[in-house]
Each structure stands twice: as structure tokens, then as C-alpha cells.
Assembly symmetry: C3
Homo-oligomer: 348 residues x 3
């Protein structure tokens, strides 16, 4: 069961070219395509004629033409035309409210009339000349909530990402989990340590001494339905950490959107936004490749964990202090689902 009346990330803008894109989201097949004026559309991936996959068709004049018998599907789920046919009586197919923001395609899975684009989150890093952003997408064979647990507890970096962003000090520093309104925050600070390889490279790239002692921070923030923004960075030790002056630190926001595909799989849209070396596109590419490589390490772990949990569904797990972020995030989801069930806006 998934929350419906909410915005999920359905695709990256660059995935939507001049061809339709079929994708399962929240257990339903959907096809995205660019309609008139490049505006993004999303309808069921099911031709009302004979059930062909519309995603195998092509785009013409802002409509999606079924590749089987030429039915022309419009952005609103209404059949526009079909050769030699009167189409007025054709049943409508489901359409989804959709919007393009921050280089991402957002999809509202519930009643389109309730969709309000002003509720799509805004981020400091988008359309902001002081930031640069790059990302990607992974298909992950695990419940999306296992990725939430993963990202709300960065202890795992010490083990899963040894040699890049992991270091023993993460593990040895306590975490604090608290709420900022509806937002779950997990905070960890490690002061007076040496930076791990990833941050040493960032310090060096920013003209700071890679071997200097630093204060390191990680703030993970969970937002419904399933977004996690992680403020991370290092400052020269004793300069104020997160609040240090710009020239004394390197920092970035790790951007994570988890979109359920099925009950046990999800789409993971990851990225990083940073405030240093803004004009260095080669460095941006390097960071993107590095993040792609590092985040792939999580997939094996999560997929094996999912197999274990599927094999032993009744098994109780531990909830330690380091798990508080994930536990609180799941509680937010459950609370929202309970409310949503009252108004019938949960998808099965």
C-alpha cells in the first residue's frame, strides 16, 4: 500500500526524450511522454483499444500514437483520434497529474483534481547559480523503505562505503534524531577528525589542505512521501563546522527520492548538489560517477536484505538508537497512510 495523493519523482527530465517512457510506479503501469509545448504527460500504459502497451508507440503532434493500430492518445487520457474510427465513445484511460521541476518529472498518483503543483518541494539548489547538481537513477530490488532506513542511518557508510565516504569515526559518533515539524532529522557531528578519501578530494579541489583536521557533519532530513535530503560537509577544525565561513568548508546536499515500483522494488533517484567548484564540469562528472559507483554498493546489501525479509516475513528486527531516523520516517508514512485511508486515497 502506498500514499496516493502526493508527489513522487517518476523520471529524470533527461529520460524523457522524443520517445515515450513506460514505467511501473506504485504497482501501476504508466507511460510518460512530452506533449504539446514539451509539457509532460502521464497516462496508463494500456491502449483502450486492445490493451497494447502505449509506451511502444511514438509521439506525434504532442499526442501519443499507439504503435499497434494507430490510436491517438491525448495527455488527458482521452482518445483523440483513430484512423477510420469515431472515438467519442472510447473509454478514457487513467491520466496522472504531472509536473517538471528541478530536472525531475513529478507524478501525483491520486485524484488529479487534488494535485497542487505548489506542494512540490522546492530546493535551495535548483535554478540557483550558487549550486551545481548532477544525479542519476537506479532500479532497486527492495522495498523503498529499506532505502529510507539506509539513508536515515549513515552508520553504514563505515562498512558499505569503506574507502570512499566511510570512516570509523562515523560509527563512533552518536546520532541525534528529532523532529522539525513533520520532518524527521538525524544529525551526526564528528569534530577534529581526518577527512575520508572523498572529502579529502573535495578539500583539495576547493584549495584547502586535504590532510587538515576537520569537523564533519551529516544531517539527514526525511520528507513525506519518501524524499531524503542529506546535508554533508567538512570544515577546517574549529571554524564552526556546518556554520563555518564558505572559504573554510566544502559541503553538499545528497539528494534522494525513492519511488515505489512494486511492494518489493523501487526507483531510486539519487544526486548531489554542491556549492564549490561550480564551474568545473569535469569535477561534476567525476562526482556523479563516484556517487554512481558508491551508491551501487548499497544495492547488493539492500537486495540481499529484502530477500531475507521476504523469506522470514514475521521476524522481529531490532530498533536501536541509530535506527531512530528510519523508525520515525516509517511512523510518518504510517500516520499519513492512516489519515489517507479515511479519505480513500491510498493505492493498493
Amino acid at each position: 500500500m502506498f500514499l496516493k495523493n502526493t508527489w513522487y519523482v517518476g523520471a529524470r527530465s533527461e529520460e524523457l526524450t522524443n520517445k515515450p517512457l513506460g514505467r511501473t510506479i506504485c504497482n501501476e503501469r504508466v507511460v510518460f511522454f512530452r506533449g504539446k509545448d514539451n509539457e509532460v504527460c502521464a497516462v496508463e500504459d494500456f491502449c483502450p483499444h486492445r490493451g497494447a502497451a502505449l509506451s511502444l508507440g511514438y509521439i506525434e503532434d504532442g499526442n501519443l500514437v499507439c504503435g499497434y493500430h494507430g490510436l491517438v492518445m491525448g495527455c488527458e487520457g482521452k482518445t483523440i483520434a483513430m484512423p477510420m474510427q469515431r472515438v467519442q465513445g472510447f473509454p478514457k484511460i487513467k491520466r496522472h497529474a504531472v509536473a517538471e521541476r528541478h530536472g525531475l518529472i513529478w507524478i501525483w498518483y491520486g485524484d488529479p483534481d487534488l494535485a497542487d503543483v505548489s506542494t512540490i518541494p522546492s530546493f535551495e539548489w535548483t535554478d540557483n547559480p550558487d549550486w551545481v547538481y548532477a544525479g542519476g537513477v537506479y532500479h532497486v530490488k527492495s522495498d523503498y523503505r529499506l532505502m529510507i532506513d539506509n539513508l536515515m542511518d549513515l552508520t553504514h557508510e563505515t562498512y558499505v562505503h569503506k574507502g570512499s565516504i566511510g570512516q570509523p569515526e562515523i560509527d563512533e559518533s552518536p546520532v541525534h534524531t528529532f523532529m522539525e515539524g513533520d520532518i524527521v532529522v538525524t544529525k551526526r557531528e564528528m569534530n577534529g577528525i581526518y577527512a575520508p578519501p572523498h572529502w579529502q578530494a573535495a578539500l583539495k579541489a576547493a584549495g584547502l589542505a586535504p590532510e587538515a583536521k576537520v569537523d564533519r557533519w551529516q544531517y539527514s532530513r526525511f520528507y513525506l512521501p519518501s524524499h531524503i535530503m542529506i546535508d554533508v560537509g567538512v570544515a577546517l577544525a574549529g571554524r564552526g563546522g556546518y556554520n563555518a565561513a564558505a572559504q573554510d568548508k566544502v559541503s553538499s546536499t545528497v539528494v534522494n527520492f525513492m519511488t515505489p515500483e512494486t511492494d518489493s522494488t523501487h526507483w531510486y533517484f539519487w544526486g548531489m548538489a554542491r556549492t564549490y567548484l561550480l564551474d568545473d564540469s569535469e569535477f561534476t562528472k567525476h562526482v556523479q560517477d563516484e556517487q554512481r559507483r558508491i551508491f551501487a554498493q548499497d544495492l547488493d546489501v539492500l537486495q540481499a536484505q529484502q530477500e531475507n525479509l521476504s523469506a522470514y516475513p514475521d521476524r522481529q528486527l531490532l530498533m536501536l538508537n541509530i535506527d531512530s531516523g528510519g523508525v520515525q520516517a516509517r511512523r510518518q508514512i504510517e500516520r499519513a497512510m492512516k489519515e489517507a485511508r479515511h479519505i480513500g486515497s491510498v493505492t493498493s
Copy 2:
């Protein structure tokens, strides 16, 4: 559920060499092999000794020897011999009536005693020096009836086979569906048009002007249980179309036998018989390769359609005039099944 007391195409003659061939047909495992005097046999692919797959064995003296412990299985499903064993009491395994006609192996899935080889359809193009034939077989992950729909409505050629046999005029010409006795016929004529690439090549090959205006025709005929013969061709415009003199036209019969494998998969035996360039074996090879390539385009479409229909089994589909051929064909199948159920000759 499938019709039993009827002939299906089980294999192409050339698939049956000096080795047995295991294949699932109508949800049952069967093994074909050439027995005495090259006569084709078909029995269950299940050794009565320990359940080994007989299709992994070998042929010796017209019998099939199990590759596990040497049980010798005869054409009639009776164990002939086994080293050191008395086999009289061995249970018989199911055997199927089978016959070789038109370069194809025909199998009767019901009571072998009811099988009448005279009811195997005959075709003008077989053993006829005025015709030449070539074909192939595809395994398709869809209900065989989706292929029937496909072939009884050639509208799809405009979309699926753009650039070879498709052209917009197909789409723009009305179809007529009617019965010829038990046979469902769908007919489409397009007069005074330019030939699409495939037919331009055929015109040229036959010494006619490829760029000439032509009258084009397509007559699809459905026969129980699941055969479709499609008469197709082009004649120089105004010379009588289908009835034009031989020197003014090029024509062929697209031959299609759909044999259920399981409820959602089938074997698709396709081919083409033509009346021009009879002695040009290179052209025959070219047409066969071209047909293999073109018909592969249907597989993706049908397989995605099957996935959609399996995901939403209760969804109503439209039945337009272009779908009449498929609808009527399915009605013939259902009628025959209903009759067959009365006499218990439907396989589950």
C-alpha cells in the same frame, strides 16, 4: 482450455532430424521423433520407468530409446524393450495421432482413434509446381488468440511494419468481415495506390514497374482451430486487382498456424507461398529472411500486450469494425469448444 479433437501444427518437417524433439503443446509435454520408414511419431515426453524426459534420448531402429536407463519406447506409446527387463506389464504412455503434410508435422491432441488425416487441410500451394513456399517458427509469449487478432486485422501493418509492408492506405481503407461457411474472412482492397517497399521489390523482381500505381488486396481467412491464410498482392491499377491476369500482378499467400503451448504462450508457424519468380531460390531465401524480420516486430507488441492483459485480466477491450475478424474467429473457437465440451474433448 483448448480444442482437442483437431489437428494442430506441432513442428516443421525440417525440425525433425535424426534426433527427438521435445515440445509443449496445449499444456502437455510431447516428444516427436521419426520412427520406422521415417514415419513421424508423437508420445508423451515422460518415460514410464522413472519420468525422465524421453526427448533427451535417441532414435534406434525406429524407436525412441530413453537416455537414462535405455527403455525402448515405440511409436504407439508402448514400451518395446528394456535391457534385462520384461516390459509387457509396463503402463502405456499417451501417444498422439500425427501426420506429415505440406512440410509440417500435424498433431491431433484428442482421442487418436478419432483422428482422420483426411481432415488435415489441403493447400493449393503444396506439391504444386506453380507455387514456391518457405517459412519458419517463432515461440511467442502470448495467448495464441492475440496472434489471431493480429492477423485478422492488418491495420497494424501501417504501424508495426512501417517501411516494409505497412502503408497509410491500409489504415484508410475500410475492411469487410464476413463468413464463408465456417470460415471467417476479412477483406481489404486499396485501389490506385503506390506499392509499399516490400511490394515494389516484388513488382521489380517480377519485371513490372515498381513505381506504377497498383490495386492492392488482403484477404485473411480464419480456419479452426487456429490457421489463417492471407491472400495478398498487387496488380497494375485497373487490371482487375485480385482477378488480374498473371502477368499483371504479383501475389502470395501468407501462411500462419498458431499452436497453443500454454495458456499464455504459443508456437507460431509462419510462411509465405508465392506464384512468381518460382525458380529463384535466392529470392525465396530473401523473402523468408524478410518475413522473419518483419514478423519479429509483432512479437514485442504481442508480448507487451499479453503482460498488460495478464496484469489487468478484468479489463474490457473495445471491439471496433477492424476487430471483427478477430472477434468472429474467437466466436468460432468458443462455439467449437462449447460443442466439444459436450463430448468431453476439450483439453484443460
Copy 3:
């Protein structure tokens, strides 16, 4: 259902290096690792913290460290430590009694307190300078009992292993099945025959005439829960067969341990121990490669047989005299299961 309070072979010693090994045995996931003093441990492959697969972790100071958040699991299934956590209250996970003998890791699937290493079988060929042993492991997609049937009736060698160890005379010689206490024995002797290729090579390697007439023997012995030792060999004809003097024969023991993975798959630990050419490690390697190649021929047969039996679960099979060994072995298993059920020591 499988016998629990018994020793199975879980792995080959050489599979356990400095990394943990995850493997499903009797429908349960287990992870093997070398603990303190190289002693082998086996616990559930399920981290008590969040269900991660412990087999993705690493070994440190004789404990298994979870690769996700660093929980340290001990050999006894008790959490030893976890950074920043008090672990006394952590639930124990299942641990299995385990022992290393004969180059194999033995695992007891029932109550560890009942495990008695003295009941691990001993073999003449282990730690014996008069023998040399080499083997391997296969994953087989069949019920482990199909492999028992296979090995208790070597008739199949004539068909499955034609050209190596098979020869018509196997098929033409009667077998005798009898009990030696709890042990099921199937015995076949073929006197005054020519050796098949495998044994010709062995004769030659041992300095005997490969083309000589020989007396050949095969004694298969089944031991609970699922081990089969096969004494095989050839002696120069008329010198006493199995009892011939060492210089007149070549012989070996084919070693087979079948360990259930799931109801329809198993791990097959195979090997061969011999008493000739003891110092020729190249010949040992050759025999091992040859056995790997020959035994792979069984896999296709068994996997197709399993598919057939799964498709037709109610089908009766024949039980011929050649099948007596397998039938008796299955009877031993069923009798032991029945006894075990009384004391609740059968795993589902």
C-alpha cells in the same frame, strides 16, 4: 521435509577461505565462516539487527562482522559487539553444530546439543597415505533423492556416460540389492569383459594392459542421511575381481554426498578416492576434470526429470529390480523421518 538431527556436508573445506560463505541448506539460509583458530562456524545468514545477509560481511578476529552496520556476530550466534551499542539484550540467532572432517565441512541441522562429532562417518581414504582424493561440488536443480536413485542404479552409465565409464555390459549384468545392517548395497559384477575408456586409461596409467579382458565391479552403498560410496574397479580377468591382488587391479571409491538445498534442489559433493598412481598429481587433476565432465551429464537428465515430476506430481513410477537400491534408500530415509517426527526433529 528433511532429517535434522544428522550430519550433512555443507561445504568443501577449500570453499571456506578468509571470506564467509552463504548457502541455503534444508530450506534455511546459513553462513559458514572460519572463526577463532580456524574453527568453522555456521549461523543463520540473517543479522539480528535489520536482517542483512551476514554472508556479505567479513571476518575479523574470528567473528563475522555484518557488512551493513558493523554488528559483530560470534560463532555461537550471539552478538559480540556493535559500535556504540550495548548488545547484551540482542536476540541470539540460530547456530549450527559444525565440524571439519575429510576436507569437508559437516553441518548438523538439528539441536546442536545433540550433535556428536563421533557420528560423522569415517572413511578409509581420508588421512591415509595409501589413498588420494579429489572432488568438487555441483548445484543441481532436482530433489536430492533423484541423485540417490541415480547413484544406486548405475545402469544409467551405459546411456548417460557412453564413451567414458558406460558400456553395454553394465546393462546386461544383473544387480543384487541387499542390506548390510542399515546400509543399502547394490552390487553388480561383470566378468571377462573389455574395459570401457575410463578404465582402459586407468589400467594403462597403472602399467596394466588396457586392452586386456577384465572383471569389473560396482558396489554402491547408501548411508543415512544421503551419502553414497561406490567401490568400483577392474582386475585382470580371473584374478579374483574385487579381491584380486593390488598389482592386478585398479580401483577407486566414488564419493557422493547429497545435501538438500530446497525441496527441489540440492548440493552435490562428488569426488573420487583411488589407490593407484598416488604420487601423480597431474593424473589426479585429470581424473577430477574427467569426473566433473562426466557427472555434469547427469545434471541435464536429473533436471529434466525433476521438471517432469513437478509437472505431473501424482504420476506413478515403475520400481524395477534395477531400482531396488534407490527404493530401499528412500525407505531408509522415510523410516528415519518417521522416527524423527516422534521426537520432533524433522525440518520442514
